[in-house]
């Protein structure tokens, strides 16, 4: 019973916050609704027993990706009137895409009701290994069967990082000058301070 309540709670919230993400006028609100949608999506994952994926979703998407989204959106100065003007112009296109997606959805539901699919169990390798948590299952798959894809995906991320640096990094020196931390730490008080006993009226020679 409690699972059913939780499911309907999460599902309703996912849908509602998904809709609000789109219709919210303020882009910051949109991002926040999106975060709520992620959060409830993670809740749904928990309900189907994928706790590892649920927490990864929160850590990666809510904890890092969405924060950066929010960062960017907050710093943008968005002209809402202009956005709405574009909205009217692109409305027919949007409707067309929405209709296509709706057709897809209907088809998907239809196919689902036509009978259950045996997803990924053709050779039994994707079936959960008995008696292990899904962290261990995912680890075994990622570093076993999908090793090649996993490592290739790593290279994709590396390329994205290299690309971002190549396009934005200017080789200029910092306006504060270069700070050599090791040298600062290695400095001793005796090198930096001098004990003098100035004569009256003589001043100090540095």
């Amino acid at each position: 019973m409690i699972q059913a309540i939780a499911f309907y709670l999460f599902a309703t919230l996912v849908l509602a916050s998904g809709v609000l993400t789109i219709v919210a006028r303020n882009p910051v609100h949109s991002v926040l609704w999106l975060i709520l949608a992620f959060f409830n999506g993670a809740g749904l994952m928990l309900l189907v027993g994928a706790e590892f994926l649920a927490f990864l979703l929160i850590i990666v998407y809510v904890g890092a990706v969405a924060v950066l989204f929010l960062f960017v959106v907050m710093m943008l100065n968005i002209d809402f009137a202009e956005l709405r003007a574009g909205f009217v112009k692109n409305f027919p296109l949007g409707i067309a895409i929405a209709l296509v997606l709706l057709a897809e959805l209907v088809l998907g539901v239809g196919a689902y009701r036509a009978g259950a699919l045996d997803l990924g169990t053709a050779d039994g390798m994707a079936a959960p290994l008995a008696g292990e948590s899904n962290i261990e299952n995912i680890g075994a798959l990622l570093y076993g069967r999908y090793l090649f894809l996993f490592e290739s995906a790593g290279i994709i991320l590396l390329v994205a990082m290299v690309g971002a640096i190549v396009l934005t990094h200017r080789g200029t020196r910092s306006p504060r000058g270069q700070q050599n931390i090791a040298r600062q730490i290695a400095r001793k008080p005796s090198e930096a301070t001098v004990n003098t006993k100035p004569e009256i009226g003589q001043g100090v020679e540095l």
Binding site: L32, L56, V62, A64, V67, L70, M74, I135
Partner: protein
């Protein structure tokens, strides 16, 4: 606890529900009390290091100072700036506070004494603590004021930066313990040092990770010397500038609850949590309860936090970022490789 309530004639669902509520109250209320006292302790320690007296007027030795402060903010009028985004302005402190409390659900106080003994406890902590940044960012933006906004930007960048290396540090611990479950991690530390000392800190490969974790936890909770989000000389009071009354108090409580959480994590992940420090039965006829050991360790780390706050000058922001991205990230990454390689050869090889 569910069993107890079922013995009182409740159905299983209701007993579970009541037990959970009772468990939450059992953790949250003492935590709030602890936060009040810890604020007092913080001020006292800080004052002692500055050769001052600290709070000493309200109650004996000023013990009731925090309650007087609490009463004061409670009775104040809540001021919402007219140009602010009102809904988000009020939600932000609630997010900070709730998130700070929610993380305690998986903290074990003794063998089995944990509200929710899930097998991905550490991931839960990471997930929840990564949410903490939203309270700060949202409050900074919703205030519609320059200083809070700068502070929010700083806080977001800082927390994300240090979460990355914290994540890698935790992975090292998890690799060694072989589980994400908090109690499992504690049990794995039993007799870790030559069968005598309980705790991962007594491990040549994990000790440097603990040092990094301690520093990162200072940065993650924006405590001195990394308190750039509320650096008073630059940003007035940071993201709390526009807040007053209860909304301000919620930030305050949330922050200190987070500090306590980080102290608890230091104790649990590296110092054996509720295990006694030594794995020797010194007094055969009497066992000190586990939760006392845990509290003692938390208090010790809180003292370390206050000590650092009182003695170390504040970092500059670029130095903070440099430390996070150029020192801790490569180091912790290297240690993930070293630790997993070592375990592969010795344990699984």
């Amino acid at each position: 606890m569910t069993q107890t309530f079922m013995n009182w004639g409740m159905t299983h669902e209701w007993a579970w529900f009541t037990a959970t509520i009772a468990g939450i109250l059992l953790i949250a209320l003492p935590l709030m009390l602890a936060v009040a006292m810890i604020i007092y302790a913080d001020r006292k320690i800080w004052a002692a290091m500055a050769l001052r007296r600290g709070p000493n007027v309200v109650g004996p030795f000023g013990l009731l100072q925090s309650f007087a402060d609490g009463l004061k903010v409670f009775l104040q009028e809540t001021i919402v700036p007219s140009a602010s985004n009102k809904g988000l302005f009020l939600i932000a402190p609630i997010i900070t506070f709730t998130v700070a409390l929610a993380a305690w659900a998986v903290i074990p106080f003794n063998s089995g004494a944990v509200l929710s003994d899930i097998n991905v406890g550490l991931l839960y902590i990471l997930a929840i603590s990564s949410l903490g940044v939203y309270g700060v960012v949202v409050s900074g933006w919703a205030s519609n004021s320059k200083y809070p906004f700068f502070s929010a930007m700083r806080a977001a960048a800082q927390m994300i930066s240090y979460e990355v290396s914290i994540g890698f540090i935790l992975i090292c611990v998890v690799l060694w313990a072989g589980t994400f479950n908090m109690n499992g991690i504690i049990e794995a530390q039993r007799g870790h040092g030559f069968g005598i000392v309980n705790g991962f800190f007594f491990n040549l490969l994990l000790f440097p990770m603990w040092v990094m974790f301690l520093i990162s936890s200072l940065a993650e909770t924006a405590r001195a010397p990394f308190d750039l989000t509320e650096a008073e000389s630059e940003l007035v009071a940071g993201y709390q500038t526009e807040y007053s009354s209860m909304s301000f108090a919620l930030f305050w409580l949330g922050e200190y609850a987070n500090v306590l959480l980080m102290c608890a994590l230091n104790a649990i992940l590296f110092f054996g949590g509720w295990l006694p420090p030594l794995n020797i039965d010194l007094i055969p006829w009497f066992d000190v309860p586990g939760w006392i050991w845990l509290f003692a360790k938390i208090l010790f780390f809180f003292f370390v936090f206050s000590w650092i706050k009182a003695t170390v000058p504040r970092f500059r922001y670029d130095q903070l970022m440099r430390l996070g991205w150029k020192v801790f990230l490569p180091l912790s990454l290297a240690f993930v490789v070293i630790v997993s390689g070592y375990l592969m050869f010795t344990r699984y090889g």
